[in-house]
């Protein structure tokens, strides 16, 4: 047994280890990647961090599931579309009933469900979207169950009256306002159509963004009298380029 063979053996084992680590690591990364991007439309409990942070922080202990008095939450089984072991809910089965004391969030030991959510109305689990074509109310029937059962009714869902051209009946169309929709999914749960005409999806799948460079005027800002009539007073000295323009071509 020379030191040479010992060293060779050592190097061989090093190489073996590195090989195992590399192949294993790659395979493992692939698995994790698959998991991480598993399903875009599952709904997390209230207070959940954004998906990457949630994925990192959730320890999959299920204490939120246990704390929910309605059996809303479940940990996803392996093989499901949702990242394994993480909590989510399907509102058509059981929606979130928006407990005032948010017990699921309180139970989270890691902060994957952020504890600084004070009012359940501020939760943003998802956003409801309406399929106008299968929504009874959009078709003129007096349904609006989603509106009446919405826990943040008049903020998250409002009903707008629109004329129905074919008769003297107004439509009562439900309209969702993402700024107040908690994504609790009660609307989806109670929708009486065969397949729900209102679905709750994670906000990022639904919401657009106007762009930071433009702000919409809100109604309160609009001056009904037409606004100031005088032309704005200019500070001529500060006009950029003025110096250049006044510079002669000589």
């Amino acid at each position: 047994m020379s030191t040479y063979t010992g060293r060779r053996e050592f190097l061989k084992r090093m190489a073996q280890g590195a090989g195992v680590a590399t192949t294993g690591g790659l395979l493992w990364s692939f698995l994790l990647g698959q998991q991480r991007h598993a399903r875009a439309n599952m709904l997390r409990p209230p207070g959940a961090l954004n998906e990457p942070d949630f994925a990192a922080t959730c320890i999959k202990c299920g204490q939120c599931v246990q704390a929910c008095p309605y059996g809303t939450l479940s940990l996803s089984p392996s093989g499901a579309e949702v990242p394994i072991g993480t909590p989510s809910f399907s509102p058509r089965d059981v929606p979130c009933y928006m407990c005032v004391d948010i017990p699921c969030m309180q139970a989270c030991p890691t902060g994957a469900l952020e504890h600084d959510l004070e009012r359940i109305e501020d939760a943003r689990m998802g956003v409801a979207t309406i399929d106008h074509e299968s929504c009874l109310s959009w078709q003129g029937l007096r349904c609006e169950i989603c509106y009446r059962e919405c826990p943040v009714r008049n903020d998250a869902i409002t009903v707008e009256n629109r004329p129905r051209r074919t008769s003297g009946h107004a439509l009562f169309v439900p309209v969702v306002h993402a700024s107040h929709c908690t994504g609790c999914g009660i609307c989806e749960y109670v929708c009486p159509t065969e397949v729900a005409a209102i679905h709750v999806l994670p906000p990022e799948l639904v919401q657009g963004k106007i762009g930071d460079h433009y702000l919409l005027s809100n109604d309160a800002e609009v001056d009904a009298d037409g606004g100031p009539s005088a032309s704005p007073a200019g500070d001529h000295d500060a006009v950029p380029g003025l110096e250049y323009l006044n510079e002669g071509e000589r």
Binding site: Q139, I145, R148, P163, H169
Partner: protein
């Protein structure tokens, strides 16, 4: 092409819906839809639920309803439905549908304490016959009772009235419509002398001001509400305003321009404030009032419709019950009645609450004088958080709407007015203000009473399935009316019992004290829907009586019954309904009833076969009967007179009342049926068409008396979507009492031609001064009615008001809508709506399970602080559809003493954690 049956159905429904709203379909989609619809039979029908009366179209295939849609041609709803109506095709297919008779039996014999076992129809009728004959013998005809319904079809209600009043000579038949419309009826009869609204739904398109008085139309009359909403948003409409007067903020407030949240019963004072304002601002339409109206009033000391003695009261109930005889006036009542606060007033006019006399305009003016803006604001403001100034401004704005001559104003009301301890008064007050400013019986102007049941108007009221009524507004107490009915019914003279029968609340009390021993529940669920239910359930189960319940699902009433008869549902039988705007609509039998279920008409007719006139038309005892021409306490023997009319002693009631010669001429099969069945006719098997025969016989009562209906076949014509009576010369009537529209008006402009209660003595505000009656033909009465405080109010022990009512998703006691999984899922339980501060003060939060307790019982419910109904502090609301949250165990069975309609809106409860 391979398409599953499910795809077929879905596509077909999509096509139907799309067609209704004018969305174009692709040709491929249309072809698919056509294929799916092949073999479907479409026919017109009516929605099973509320009093709006939406038309629907029903598709059937192989004995099942495969689809429904809103009828695009129906003027009420133009192809729309509410979400209950959306499920019309599903209500019959609940898993626990009753399909065979069930009786409490032990060892082959009826045993009240035993469990239900299936029995044959013969066995069921045998027992009913035995029990009924026993009771007839022991108690006389009034020991037999029917608890009927505003959901009866016209032929059903007519058969029930005729069986009871002409057959058994019992007036102990009263419908659940008593709980719903009776105060409106008293209002109509006392003010106009004829029942039912002058206006119709077309008022909506003509009015620019809508005032809701205790009517949450957004939830309870959904399709009418969408018409009002359309009027509100139409760009060409004038300045349309909606006022919601309510005891808490409800869904109708969402669309309201003006919301007045008031204290319970304060509506009485607000109406008087408006009247005072109309006079003070000299806005009375003098010409209209002088030509068409008189002023009137009646006694104030009329009690609260409770039992007068405490022998049946629970100990906890006794303090309130004692007020039935003696009431200490609070300062608001005292001011309105020109008495001293704290004065104790004996309720001496309990038995004569309906009497009234004319007064002068000067007296009327004096009477409304105390109802100043300040006084009424203090009395009426219901939201502790609202400022006095804000409420005063609202009251003034409300008065402005009435007074403004340019405004067309319609008042709508339902249960907030009708279910009221002074429900008849407040109905009369609604007309008071409309008549004062002449805004009545004109297009877009009128006080309009809405109904809650599909045929509360068409059957319960028009047919007269009440204890005191006969068809077409006639009453048993009136000898001329009895004579007329006996003539049409071909009865011997004095066949009809002149003593009015018990109202439905009293039938319950009669069961409790053993006066009624045989009760038949038809097309309703009174044991869940009657206030103070613990008493009646105990009476049904513990007393020696026999209760039959014809029902379609195992309801609370079925559960407490002794015999359950499986009934056919709406589209399993022929029928007609009359909605709130006097529109009579008809449908054919679409599908056969399941199992051994049978129509109510068949059940009554079969039962009638078991009694000969010899058995029932002998001398009969009627305790308390006192009438001119009758021996006290007795109905005379009319068997000899019957024989003289050609009846044989062993003729059965079936032969005499129903399958008589005239009716047998109405043959089944009939071309009007097209290819539809009639299981009732088929089972009777003697070749006549009972629904048509009964309807056509019934029309004899109203023709020529302002209640004219068209012939049976007319309502089934393809081009007819119901007709509003009176139908004269084939034309329906839109606005009654108005010469332009109503053929009965002989005067040049208006004539309130109703004949009832049109001869009155004269008096002042307190009493009759000249008992000589003078006629008021053609006139309407403007009543003064004072404010009266609710008999039970929150105190330190029961510290919250409780009001009950409906939600859009469920109808009445939920027996049908709770069988539709989607509706049950949407609203699975009746929540207790409470103000968040009231909840917090009791350490309660949203979704907590709480106890609600009154003097009469306690129930558990889930607390809701942010629901569709936003309560004011001090007020709790619980819907009554849920037998699991049996709110009528809490409610007080006080009624309007005139109408005997229960006040389900006011009692005192406490709420605490369960």
């Amino acid at each position: 092409m391979s398409i599953t049956r499910r795809d077929f159905m879905r596509d077909a429904v999509a096509a139907a819906t799309a067609a209704a709203v004018g969305v174009p379909l692709t040709s491929a989609e249309q072809a698919l839809a056509k294929e799916a619809e092949s073999g479907w039979r479409w026919d017109k029908g009516v929605c099973r639920f509320c009093g709006v009366g939406c038309g629907i179209q029903i598709a059937t295939k192989e004995g099942r309803i495969v689809a429904t849609k809103g009828d695009p041609d129906a003027p009420v709803n133009r192809g729309l439905n509410c979400v209950k109506g959306y499920f019309n095709g599903r209500i019959m297919y609940g898993e626990d549908r009753l399909t065979e008779p069930l009786m409490r039996m032990k060892d082959g014999r009826f045993d009240k304490k035993a469990d239900f076992v299936p029995v044959s129809w013969d066995r069921a009728f045998d027992e009913m016959e035995r029990q009924a004959k026993k009771v007839l013998d022991e108690k006389g005809p009034t020991g037999l009772a029917i608890m009927g319904s505003g959901q009866y079809t016209v032929p059903e209600g007519y058969a029930a009235v005729k069986l009871m009043k002409a057959g058994f000579r019992s007036n102990t038949i009263d419908p659940n419509a008593r709980h719903c419309m009776a105060s409106a009826v008293v209002g109509f009869m006392q003010v106009f002398g004829i029942d039912e609204p002058a206006g119709n739904y077309d008022d909506i398109e003509e009015a620019d001001t809508f005032v809701l008085w205790g009517a949450n139309m957004a939830e309870c009359h959904p399709i009418l509400w969408s018409r009002i909403a359309n009027r509100r948003i139409s760009s060409d409409a004038a300045d349309v305003k909606i006022v919601n007067i309510t005891t808490f903020t409800n869904m109708s407030s969402d669309l309201a321009d003006l919301e007045l949240v008031i204290k319970p019963s304060a509506d009485l004072a607000i109406q008087n404030y408006i009247a005072r304002e109309i006079i003070a601002r000299d806005a009375v339409d003098k010409e209209f009032v002088e030509s068409h109206c008189v002023f009137a009033t009646g006694p104030y000391d009329i009690g609260y419709g409770m039992r007068a003695d405490s022998s049946f009261a629970y100990d906890a109930e006794k303090d309130i019950q004692a007020k039935e005889l003696e009431v200490k006036l609070d300062r608001f009542e005292a001011a309105g009645q020109r008495r001293e606060p704290g004065e104790v007033v004996k309720q001496t006019n309990r038995g004569s609450a309906g009497k009234h006399w004319t007064i002068s305009f000067e007296d009327f003016k004096k009477a409304v004088e105390p109802y100043t803006l300040e006084f009424v604001t203090e009395l009426a403001k219901g939201d502790p958080e609202e400022t006095v100034e804000s409420f005063r401004e609202k009251l003034e704005a409300l008065a402005d709407f009435y007074i403004n001559r340019d405004r067309n104003l319609v008042s709508f009301w339902t249960m907030g007015f009708n279910q009221h301890q002074r429900g008849s008064w407040v109905n009369e007050q609604a007309y008071m203000n409309h008549l004062l400013v002449g805004k009545q019986a004109r297009p877009g102007n009128g006080a309009f009473s809405l109904t809650g049941q599909p045929s509360a108007c068409g059957t319960a009221r028009e047919v007269g399935t009440f204890g005191h009524r006969l068809p077409s507004d006639m009453v048993v107490a009136n000898p001329a009316h009895r004579a007329k009915s006996e003539k049409i019914w071909k009865l011997p003279s004095k066949a009809i019992n002149p003593k009015p029968g018990s109202h439905i609340n009293k039938i319950m009390r009669d069961l409790e004290d053993g006066t009624v021993k045989f009760a038949w529940v038809q097309v309703n669920n009174p044991f869940q829907a009657t206030a103070n239910a613990n008493h009646w359930i105990t009476a049904a189960r513990e007393m020696d009586n026999f209760i039959v319940c014809s029902d379609v699902y195992p309801s609370v009433s079925a559960k407490v019954a002794d015999l359950i008869l499986p009934a056919a549902m709406i589209f399993e039988k022929w029928g007609l309904y009359g909605n709130a705007e006097r529109r009579t609509q008809a449908w054919r039998e679409q599908v056969p009833p399941p199992g051994d279920a049978r129509s109510d008409v068949w059940q009554m007719l079969e039962f009638a076969k078991r009694f000969t006139i010899d058995e029932v038309w002998g001398e009969q005892k009627v305790p308390g009967l006192k009438a001119e021409g009758y021996e006290d306490g007795k109905l005379p023997d009319i068997r000899q007179a019957a024989r003289e009319m050609g009846y044989k002693p062993d003729s059965t009631l079936y032969e005499v009342l129903f399958a008589n010669d005239a009716n047998r001429k109405v043959k089944w099969p009939d071309p009007v049926a097209k290819d539809h069945e009639n299981h009732t006719a088929a089972l009777l098997g003697d070749g006549w068409f009972p629904e048509k025969a009964l309807f056509d016989e019934y029309t004899q009562f109203g023709r020529g008396h302002g209640h004219d209906l068209a012939d049976f076949d007319v309502y089934y014509r393809d081009d007819v979507r119901g007709l509003r009576w009176p139908v004269v010369d084939g034309k329906e009537t839109q606005w009654r009492f108005n010469a332009k529209y109503d053929p009965y008006v002989k005067a040049p402009d208006f004539e309130f031609y109703g004949k009832a209660l049109k001869a009155l003595p004269q008096g002042d505000l307190d009493k009759v001064t000249n008992p000589e009656k003078s006629g008021l033909a053609g006139k309407a009465k403007i009543f003064f009615r004072p404010y009266a405080a609710p008999v039970e109010q929150p105190d330190e022990n029961f510290d919250l008001w409780l009001s009950t009512g409906r939600v859009l998703e469920h109808w009445h006691t939920g027996t049908m809508t709770r069988r539709v999984p989607q509706l049950h899922r949407a609203v699975p339980t009746a929540q207790a709506f409470v103000h968040p501060d009231d909840a917090a003060a009791r350490n309660l939060k949203r979704n907590d399970v709480v106890w609600l307790e009154s003097r009469r019982g306690k129930i558990k419910a889930v607390l809701e602080t942010h629901g569709r109904n936003r309560m004011v502090r001090g007020m709790v609301f619980v819907p009554f559809f849920d037998e699991g949250v049996f709110v009528n165990k809490l409610t007080l069975d006080a009624t309007c003493p005139l109408s005997k309609e229960t006040d389900f809106k006011k009692c005192a409860v406490k709420v605490y954690k369960a």
